[in-house]
Symmetry: C2
């Protein structure tokens, strides 16, 4: 007889809407007669290893809805990237608790974990459905039109640059904003959606999809500064030289690496400070300011896309439907349908696991420092309703009285 | 015969609501029969010197309302701090254009400019009404319950720490957020309003009103980290040692100073990076992240307090009423009346000009690293309606099966 037990967990960096997916799983699962218990693992796969489970069957629907609207992983997360032995241990715990459906909400590393656990179950003929639920502000999952969490982070970045542009117009100078995104520039590119008038910033956008050359960067900044009397720049933390070495990593004295072998790029202002220093010393521009958006862009409460919320909820719901009504494991993916609607499908885990999507060429201008209208059209509907708008006074100059010869 | 001309300008750092004050002046002035023309100076006092005026009489009321809702100084701002000769030049231009009322929206440096210009006019018996309209995210104007711009920036800081706390709970470690505020800690203290549950961060708050000692800081962080398994810290950019030297300034290789002789504290991530480095190396904690909120906290579009908007509008309106119906110059100030309502009064310019308010002792806990309920009660109504709230899953632990002896 089937146990009717399901387990859900959250991995990787939190997002503004990852709890929507969690609650989508829980509420959808609870309405299925075949489901008896819904467990959540605390702090991702680490919580599975430690058998640190909470019984979400006992949670009220009302509180679940409130948690859904709260950013960051309500179950806790982890940066652990399980190897084969770790995945075998995960499977052992799932077996011990007679788990029949395993849902893991996370990015491409998490999908790889789901893939290995799924294989372990298949090896011994244990009937386990394993579903990966997409989540990443980097938008770097292949096979997805976009990933839940990205639209809200993109909205933060767009609103931040809209404001930085206004501030920079009021007190002119150079402004450098460093945005998250190790390999994919989607989030940095979102800065362009903060632009309204033709002379608005960001005037330059540097993406990890293109090689970064410091000399050319300085030429670009000089050109824009002379044109506009100011310059707003969006820079991805993942910019790198021709050899592929990250500009940030070249500067870091102590290279902190996580379990995935990744160098820490966020949580330090070094890249923004270096670029500002270069502009000040080489271009002799006095007012140069740099901000590193850091954790604000993924955790700020009160900046969320309603489209993102809805889709994050639905990928959770669809995951349960695929697991219970379907006969195969997989990764839920968002498909775009019209302008604008989203549909969902289940991709094979192998199609998504451990792979990285980067920005398509059609989204990047030939000059390499701007984005195309195709990208604007792609991103705009994802940002959701109620985007703030910026207005200007119209020019109505008054004739001078003292400086009439000027 | 009177010219009926008024001039308005914006000085210092932009805020989320400074355009409300501008529009308050313009719309209120336009309804008075004695007013014929409303000029705006572009980029503050520098625009007056350059006679760079726009005629706001020609602007539509509709567009003015839209500009009011847009953050940052719509007329442009300046960091110029006029000396006597500069103020005499300002007065010369005002005379040439037959300006009868001069309104300057800004902080304590701007109020000092208004004071000197007012004196110059009085010296020669020129009938000029000079009114200072308060604005500063630092909340450091004396004689004011609080200043327009502070509540919206405080809301950003509270929402940022609410989110940083959730992110830090999901992926535990140490998080350091550096907040603006050279001498006054009000904005940093606002971090505490992001706290809901007793174990929420910020767990430690460092204000410029107290001496910062690195050794004690490390002891504090260690204590909180051991208690909560994580630690969220709010730090003012203005923290200083016993001699009064800013911790940030001790680190800066190149001390950039503005026209006011102030060292640049914002637009660099150095302070956050130093503190993180100390925590990593001395306390051997691996996951330590630092964010410098930088310009986001004053320019981000879409995070504004409706109370702040309303009051910023009203100080502009009241300024015009004081100028036209009153017989003296002064600085408009906000008075608190009940829980919660605001009234306005006109203070003598000498009472405000060039002075700096810091946090009152009753707002700071005896331990020096937390704020009091008096501060919570003071700030809460200013943050406005619709503050995001954070919810948690309730603990319903599941019995272990493999680790039963644990």
């Amino acid at each position: 007889m089937a146990s009717g037990k399901i387990l859900v967990a959250q991995g990787g960096g939190p997002t503004a809407v990852i709890n929507q997916s969690l609650v989508g799983v829980v509420l959808e699962a609870r309405r299925h007669k075949s489901v008896s218990l819904v467990y959540g693992a605390r702090h991702g796969v680490r919580g599975i290893i430690n058998e640190d489970f909470v019984d979400l069957t006992q949670e009220t629907s009302h509180n679940l809805e409130l948690v859904a609207g709260t950013p960051a992983s309500a179950l806790g997360s982890t940066r652990d990237k399980p190897d084969l032995a770790y995945c075998q241990q995960i499977f052992k715990v799932l077996q011990a608790h007679e788990i029949e459906h395993f849902f893991y909400i996370g990015g491409n590393d998490s999908s790889d974990t789901v893939r290995i656990v799924s294989q372990e179950a298949a090896k011994v003929g244990y009937p386990l459905r394993c579903i990966h639920i997409p989540k990443t502000i980097d938008n770097d999952l292949v096979g997805n039109d976009h990933t839940p969490g990205f639209p809200s982070a993109a909205r933060f970045v767009a609103q931040a640059f809209a404001g930085a542009n206004l501030d920079n117009a009021a007190l002119p100078g150079v402004y450098v904003g460093v945005v998250m995104g190790r390999h994919a520039g989607f989030l940095t590119a979102a800065a362009a959606l903060g632009k309204k008038f033709p002379d608005d910033g960001p005037h330059l956008i540097y993406l990890p999809e293109r090689v970064f050359e410091l000399e050319q960067f300085l030429v670009d900044v000089k050109t824009m500064y002379e044109r506009h009397g100011r310059c707003v720049i969006a820079v991805s933390e993942g910019i790198h030289d021709a050899s592929g070495e990250a500009i940030a990593a070249q500067l870091a004295k102590d290279l902190e690496r996580d379990a995935h072998g990744n160098v820490q790029l966020s949580g330090t202002g070094a890249l923004a400070d270096l670029l500002c220093e270069e502009i000040k010393s080489k271009l002799k521009i006095k007012r140069v300011r740099g901000d590193t958006f850091g954790y604000l862009q993924r955790s700020f409460v009160g900046c969320v896309s309603d489209v993102d919320q809805r889709e994050a909820r639905e990928v959770g719901e669809k995951a349960v439907q695929y697991a219970i009504w379907g006969d195969r494991d997989g990764s839920v993916a968002i498909k775009r349908n019209g302008y604008y609607s989203a549909d969902y499908e289940l991709l094979p885990l192998e199609a998504v696991a451990g792979k990285t999507r980067v920005m398509e060429d059609e989204f990047i201008s030939p000059c390499g420092t701007d984005i195309t209208d195709a990208f604007r059209l792609y991103l705009r509907p994802l940002l959701g309703s109620g985007m703030p708008d910026a207005y200007r006074l119209r020019p109505n100059p008054v004739a001078k009285r003292l400086h009439q010869t000027e």
